[in-house]
Symmetry: C2
Subunit: 402 residues, 2 copies
């Protein structure tokens, strides 16, 4: 019994921690509750209920299905739902009219049209560019079209029904939009912005941590935690793309305009991932290889630390640049700094083979080479950073101007 | 006008290509059309329509929302929908009964309970382990609970209504399940299996292509295409995890049992991505650096080609192993082969610094080092492959036994 209680206590703590870590989630939950309570007023008040002809159900359904945790997602779903409903509703009424005109073939006409439109809409959901933006709309299109055209077989006043449903859906969506935008809004754009900025800091931390562990051997918990930071960067592709997609739907807010170049964030993310790949390989080298002799380490230590310091400074500066959405004046200087550090490391590299390849050290030379390789990887790792820097300077300029 | 026509023709060709490349998608579209036509029979036949008390709408809605392109996804949505509806329906009826007992406070009791349950269910959607499996169920729970408890305020026979809706949903889900399972089923498990297998082949192709381009300089279209293969592997994390999640819902089919170790595929995928990171870095090195002198290339060429051949042979053997789901007897031999190739490359490395670091070649030594580094990366790259091999041999054994 005690074990079960403890397990429960542990999972409850985890449960609690999710909310404590990110209060925005709690706010979202409260907003869902509020929106549902608001929309149920349509049931409680007789004039309102009769006004929509007993179709209040659709308002509730809309709120439940459409309400998402950030503004962009809610917007995109609302627009999709409304447009798809109107489109499919009018098409459905048209098909219903044709079916009635055709007399005895009514069932045949409706069934065929449902089959055809369902086929076409489902097929369009496989087109990647369409899917990214209108996947939900296509589903609602099939749903509404089938309900209107097939349902028209039993219900007499199809047009009235379609109109009432459209108005209840409009009511539902407007409640959702008002609540998401005006009550503690959570913007997909801001989340994306913060994510990219945090990822830069994580990369810098990992780079620092990696080199520090290798050259000074002080492995404590905190450094190890930081070292793993780049793994988050590796896995953030999906999130970034989804966010950038949603952010496009959002109106201007805070320091972001309506046509903020969200796609640039995806590109920055891709460049960051290339850095993260290098870090991954660097850490593989560190863990698997046998230790290089102290002599080699010392030889390279200084130049490497300098280089990694320069690189991580650039990363941090980029994080700041993203935070303030303006170009930093220090950037050119930092890039110059890094390049000179690269030069210095290359000089160090040139001197090493002569030093370590005396015949009596033949047995050691293999390990030396491994020491070499780690340094050279340090070098390679800097190259994407440099590319990233160039890209970002361009981006920053663009962000500034737009 | 001509430009517009041409653009349309081009997008139509793309549109057509999506279906032509993967006939399973067309089959899915046809199945959706068929399922909808089938379920609309409930509208066309008077006894059936009256039997469900005019709630036939819910059957159509269920089919549209629940029907997914693979069996696992359809199963998981069906189970989620049915369980959540029953749970929320009975809870809703309970709350409705309490609300009626409380007399004047009826509205207050219902509104509060809707607020609370909506809050709790939305919060649970943020718990990662819950979200992965029951996200859809939580939404349906909120929906059904609000409809039953709030709707009960206007409708007299709440129990009848709830029962009829449950039965229509049951009809909808059973039609979906029958059609997905018995008409050209598309299994998430098989898709995952094929994906993992193809990724192995892609990795092997990229590795071959990479080395071939670097050492023999014959860059044609086909090699370049193959070279990019590892990028797919980099981006397949999300797909693999989603598929593994869905595959768990599927019953035994083909050579897969009910408790097939799908999570192993995710692990294999992670190991493959580590290989792909190495390939990414290898290709960065190849593209950015200035060319190493021919002499150095020649020196390393043979050993490197041997190593990469051995590694890609292993990858292909692994692909075959996955395909046949049994352990290969050749594996031990191939691993031994690769290890001896690694040894050979290390021997070659030992000889190089002495050879190239004569004083008169000082200017070149930098480039030599870069040549070095590429080789060493070749070496590092093999290490994860070796890790992967060990992991996979274990996996294969496990797949065999289960």
């Amino acid at each position: 019994v005690k074990v079960i209680v403890e397990q429960n206590a542990k999972s409850m703590r985890n449960f609690w921690k999710i909310g404590a870590d990110d209060p925005a989630k709690i706010v979202h939950c409260l907003k869902v509750g509020l929106a549902l309570s608001l929309v149920s007023i349509f049931y409680y008040m007789r004039p309102l209920y009769d006004g929509v002809g007993g179709n209040a159900m659709w308002a509730i359904m809309t709120v439940v299905v459409v309400f998402e945790s950030n503004v962009g997602a809610t917007f995109s779903k609302c627009v999709n739902r409304v447009v798809a409903t109107i489109l499919a509703g009018s098409l459905g009424i048209g098909v219903h009219w044709v079916a009635i005109q055709s007399g005895k073939a009514e069932i045949f006409v409706t069934a065929c049209s449902v089959f055809l439109f369902a086929f076409a809409a489902t097929y369009s959901r496989f087109v990647p560019s369409f899917k990214a933006r209108f996947d939900y709309g296509a589903m609602i299109f099939i749903l509404t079209f089938s309900l209107v055209s097939v349902g028209g077989y039993r219900v007499d006043k199809v047009v009235d029904m379609a109109q009432q449903r459209a108005s209840t859906i409009a009511i539902g969506t407007s409640i959702c939009i008002i609540i998401t935008v005006f009550l503690c809004p959570i913007w997909a754009g801001s989340q994306l912005h913060r994510l990219v900025q945090l990822n830069f800091v994580k990369l810098a931390d990992s780079l620092d941590g990696c080199l520090a562990v290798y050259f000074s051997e002080n492995e404590d918990e905190e450094t190890n935690m930081k070292l793993q930071g780049f793994k988050c960067v590796l896995n953030s592709k999906g999130t970034e793309e989804a966010m950038a997609n949603l952010a496009r739907w959002e109106p201007a807010h805070g320091s972001f305009n309506f046509r903020h170049p969200w796609q640039q964030y995806v590109k920055i993310g891709a460049a960051m991932r290339r850095c993260a790949y290098c870090l991954e390989n660097l850490s593989i080298c560190m863990n698997i290889e046998t230790e290089a002799p102290d002599q080699v380490k010392k030889h390279f230590g200084e130049a490497c630390m300098k280089l990694s310091l320069a690189a991580s400074k650039i990363l941090r500066e980029l994080a700041d640049m993203i935070k303030n959405t303006r170009k930093s004046s220090k950037m050119d200087y930092l890039v110059f700094d890094m390049n000179s550090a690269v030069q210095e490391l290359q000089e160090t590299l040139k001197t090493v083979p002569i030093e370590t390849n005396k015949p009596e050290e033949d047995v050691k030379s293999e390990e030396d080479n491994k020491g070499d390789s780690i340094m050279l990887m340090g070098l390679h790792e800097v190259l994407p950073v440099a590319t990233l820097v160039l890209l970002l300077i361009e981006n920053a300029a663009r962000i500034q101007t737009t």
